[in-house]
């Protein structure tokens, strides 16, 4: 330790790679003392809340899915849920099932992309998936096969994964055929071996994940019927806090900080964490038995406070999503696919839509006037909620690794940021300050 006491480190990573959006890591240690420790969000702000003002109820999900290519289905889900909440629109069981299937598809797509393309290269000691095409062709082939399955699921259900077309308040503008659902089911069955192989691959690599733990408050949506992804009935945290969907601000407290075009969020502690690990820590008992088996194999046990295990929790959720998607396909096929037209009675009011996107809790909160035009909007994105937690992690992580070389510290910090799978272009939005004029 004597060597680290006087150590000075200057980490300045401009644009962290293999994350979605633009973020910089700035860490300064002078004479062994941590002076600066920030994840600067330098993404161009896009002002989506403002863009929603004056737009109609049937445009909101089409606009907001464009916040993020990776979580487009999630944004469309939260958006239609908010509009339906505001106007008291009830949807059919078939619509619920199709939406859940779509969300399972997006969850698999996003987690596979993150685990294989963005996180695994670190564990295999390369800079991207490209060299793996030569050295690990089977791994790349499997990743692409799983990704394609997930994209095709969303494509069949809502036209496109980036960006869904037929998901609309009240239901879908096109209902898939039974043959298409059967096709999805067969494709998932064909991928079961690949899902198992993914678990084995990550189980073999998990030993390389840094042993870094820091207790924080984990926040997730809760649904009595299932492990909450598409929707839930209340918000819960591992500190025992809970609130109804509409009262989300009781737990999700936002503030603007100067070095970030994305606001920070916390509850009672200085930070809060959302995402796969947070969902696992709160709701693991509701996982599909096959996912619980995978968790055991991967050594993931709640409560897990190692941020790097977020990747492991993503694999567990991939297994869960694949098996739950199979169940939903069977339910849809047993009930038969019915042609339905979305029924919407335009009404004034406020509505809140909460959903769990791959990176964590997403909030859409709209107020409509009696013409169905948005007069107020607030959006809270998962990465925004995690930013304060990432910086708190930095503060504990850096002193623990000060004896390493500057390169190793930098890589460790980059891996830490990537573990969150941050979606920076999403998080760039802001506050619910009243629109004046």
């Amino acid at each position: 330790m004597a060597t680290t006491a006087k150590k000075s480190v200057n980490v300045n990573v401009r644009y962290v790679t293999r994350v979605e959006g633009h973020g910089n890591i700035v860490v300064n240690v002078k004479n062994g003392k941590l002076e600066k420790c920030e994840l600067d969000i330098v993404e161009a702000p896009r002002f989506f809340e403002s863009m929603l003002l004056g737009r109609r109820w049937d445009e909101a999900s089409l606009i907001t899915s464009r916040i993020c290519g990776i979580c487009a289905v999630g944004h469309a889900s939260a958006s239609v849920l908010a509009t339906e909440d505001a106007m008291g629109i009830k949807v059919s069981e078939q619509t619920e099932r199709l939406r859940r299937l779509n969300v399972y598809g997006e969850t698999i797509q996003s987690h596979v992309l993150h685990v294989y393309f963005l996180a695994a290269p670190d564990l295999l000691g390369v800079g991207s998936v490209v060299p793996l095409v030569q050295t690990h062709p089977d791994v790349v082939k499997r990743a692409l096969k799983l990704k394609k399955l997930a994209n095709d699921m969303c494509g069949i259900i809502s036209g496109r994964k980036v960006h869904p077309i037929s998901m609309t308040p009240g239901g879908f503008t096109r209902i898939p055929t039974a043959a298409e659902i059967l096709y999805i089911k067969e494709r998932i069955l064909d991928c079961v071996g690949d899902v198992v192989a993914t678990v084995d691959l990550v189980a073999a690599l998990a030993g390389k994940l840094p042993n870094f733990t820091r207790e924080t408050e984990y926040e997730a949506l809760y649904c009595p019927d299932e492990y909450a992804l598409y929707r839930g009935t209340k918000l819960i945290t591992t500190d025992g806090a809970e609130c109804s969907n509409r009262d989300y601000k009781k737990i999700v407290k936002e503030k603007v900080v100067g070095h970030s075009s994305s606001k920070h969020v916390s509850n009672k502690r200085s930070s809060i964490m959302v995402g796969a690990l947070a969902r696992f820590n709160n709701n693991w008992k509701q996982l599909h038995p096959k996912a619980l088996e995978a968790a055991a194999k991967l050594g993931l046990k709640a409560p897990c406070t190692n941020t790097f295990y977020n990747n492991v929790a993503q694999v567990v959720e991939t297994v869960h999503s694949a098996y739950k998607a199979l169940e939903v396909c069977d339910e849809l096929l047993a009930a038969g696919l019915k042609d339905e037209t979305p029924e919407v009675q335009v009404k004034a009011g406020r509505g809140v839509g909460l959903t769990e996107v791959p990176r964590g809790l997403l909030v859409h909160d709209y107020t409509y006037d009696d013409r169905g035009v948005i007069t107020d909007a607030n959006l809270i994105i998962p990465t925004g909620q995690n930013l304060a937690n990432i910086e708190d992690d930095f503060r504990k992580f850096v002193p623990e690794v000060l004896d390493r070389s500057q390169e190793e510290i930098t890589l460790g910090l980059e891996m830490l940021v990537r573990a969150y799978d941050p979606c920076i272009s999403c998080s760039v939005h802001m506050l619910d300050v009243k629109f004046v004029g």
Binding site: A44, M51, R55, H429
Partner: protein, 250 residues
């Protein structure tokens, strides 16, 4: 271009969905990686080099610092491709162009608004010369692959200059106007299969207006519906807010 052509991807104000579409070419990705060298793609790889031949630029320009960066990219690239609606026409970002920027910033950032300067969204060709435009929000995977093939072979790549209605009729869709909906397919550039009407939803104009809509619009459809060109183009505010004709009308 002697050795493998070098490709680079950059993004400005965008959702990175167009870059994601590249990674979503699951069947072709390995072959593509064999034919080209990707030297800059922040979303997926660590390597960053400036010796690229073809630059794909995603996103709109909304800040002074972006201008400098896009000009640098232009200087380095032999071919610059505007990649997706944000880059070709301003896209979804241009919705904010209809509102005064101070109000936009204040609504989102409150009294911290001044910390995050931004101006109305501009398409890439507003700042630098663009050699090729790939339309759509997001870009079409097949168009992207076709454009790559053409660029590698030194062939001309062209995009359709007829409206979505043409392909919609070929797909034998029931026209959405018959169902009481509106649709921008009459004036929007085709080339998307036509995704939205096929999935029962209106075309929202993501591929931008056809050149000279007053000549090329689907007048037969308009006539059947008893609509005028003006009535249809006034709805063109979701993606094409930068279009001079539209902004002037506002």
């Amino acid at each position: 271009m002697s050795a493998k052509p070098k490709l680079a991807f950059f993004s400005f104000a965008s959702c990175e969905g167009c870059q994601l579409q590249v990674i979503n070419c699951e069947d072709e990705l390995v072959a593509l990686l064999g034919a080209v060298e990707i030297v800059n793609f922040r979303e997926a790889i660590d390597e960053r080099r400036d010796d690229y031949d073809i630059a794909f630029v995603e996103g709109s320009i909304t800040r002074p610092e972006d201008e400098h960066e896009v000009k640098e990219i232009r200087e380095r690239a032999k071919i610059l491709v505007a990649f997706g609606a944000c880059a070709t026409i301003g896209g979804i970002n241009a919705i904010k162009n209809f509102q005064p920027q101070e109000k936009v910033s204040q609504y989102v950032y409150g009294d911290q608004a001044a910390t995050f300067p931004s101006y109305p969204a501009r398409p890439v060709h507003d700042l630098v010369k663009v050699d090729l435009k790939l339309h759509g929000c997001p870009i079409s995977k097949s168009e992207f692959l076709e454009a790559c093939k053409c660029l590698l072979a030194g062939k001309q790549f062209t995009v359709p200059n007829y409206p979505v209605c043409v392909t919609c009729k070929l797909a034998e869709n029931v026209c959405l106007y018959q169902k009481g909906m509106t649709c921008l397919g009459v004036v929007t550039r085709a080339g998307c299969d036509p995704m939205c009407p096929t999935f029962g939803n209106k075309c929202i104009g993501c591929r931008g207006l056809i050149d000279h809509p007053n000549v090329n619009a689907a007048f037969d459809v308009l006539e059947d519906l008893g609509l005028t060109l003006e009535e249809v183009t006034k709805d063109f505010t979701m993606f094409d807010g930068c279009h001079k004709e539209i902004t002037e009308k506002k």
